[in-house]
Symmetry: C2
Subunit: 225 residues, 2 copies
Amino acid sequence: MAAETGSRVAKTAEEDPAVADESFEGVTPDAARRLLLGAVEAFAERGFHATTTRDIAGRAGMSPAALYIHYKTKEELLFQISKVGHERSVSVLAEAAEGGGDDADRLARAVRSFVRWHAEHHTTARVVQYELAALGAEHYEEIVGLRRRSEEILRGILESGDASGEFEVADIRGTTLAVMSLCIDVARWYSPAGRRTPDQIGGLYADLVLRMVASAGPSGPARAE
Amino acid sequence: MAAETGSRVAKTAEEDPAVADESFEGVTPDAARRLLLGAVEAFAERGFHATTTRDIAGRAGMSPAALYIHYKTKEELLFQISKVGHERSVSVLAEAAEGGGDDADRLARAVRSFVRWHAEHHTTARVVQYELAALGAEHYEEIVGLRRRSEEILRGILESGDASGEFEVADIRGTTLAVMSLCIDVARWYSPAGRRTPDQIGGLYADLVLRMVASAGPSGPARAE
DNA sequence: GTCTATAACCGGATAGAC
DNA sequence: GTCTATCCGGTTATAGAC
């Protein structure tokens, strides 16, 4: 069954060998990085449990045994991917949220960047967002901590805008969750073959989110268009 | 690793034995239904590939061999779940969209019902929405057809509302996708232990979606509150 | 550090008794 | 229809040569 699945899914590395994920540039030695990249691809295409160590090692041009010199287990590979990926996405979000402008500017930039990251790195993002359940308990907790930071950044903007009257948000936690869902789910359906670029999707979503939180009054500057 | 995961996830059947999924009520014989229910739980907790036939059979109070009297393969079990689940969710959405009222009423009802379904049946919904990749090629295509119907229902409402001026939607296909994402992703994070009921989440999301499509003019009746 | 070979185990699926 | 027993292939991980 897994074999059939593979044929339906584009092989990311073939589409775009270099950019498949520059997030892992810093990883050394070379063999460890190649394994990480192979694992990202394989996990994204087939899922963690359906991926064999043979597959990962093969993509890195190695025998299965070589994998264990660099990583104790297959799960550790997933953990590294999740960790680096989450750190990247959080830092992208944080940077966008920190810049100047009013809360609408910050929110629009944050959503646009976060969405763009999930589209551009959809291979990594898919693993990072949808294979979490395969992590061991302690690793899982560590990753959940990183996720909470993303949520807090967004919630902070909504709270600030709501307090100043720039936004009108009835349920801040619920709306934060909805915005997160919107951004994250992009990784599930995005395809480079689609009609829109990552930045276009980011722009559309930023607009939709601004509408979700816009205050009704005529003063509301957040209203798009 | 899979065992550790299990301990983190609530066992749905224990929380709510009867409602775990009444979607499968009609399935006979009894043994086939029990296997289906066991498989839904197991797939939702661990994912398709991490679930063993021994686990499924065990939950149904049977030996592994008994499973093969009712289903040819483990994949067929997943297909049945996906099929019934998708049919249910599409019919919930269609029913909500068909009722009377203006397009804002129809959209609000559709989102509310669709979200409520994904929360109430989050166990089934998780399998239905996130384990699709494990299906064989033909089964996958069949399910994708059902998914398209959901999308078309929502898009139809947005198109209608946009044409009449009741809504103002710059990118209908993109916005449809965003609304779908919002609703579907509820299945990923919803927990019965959370603060909100499925209907409350549905109400919040209906409000957010109406805001996303509301026309700017003062005549816009879609503005919530 | 990487390879080949293999240990130890576990998975889906089947055979045949009841 | 269900069970016990089992086959067979695949999986993680290790040992030891190079």
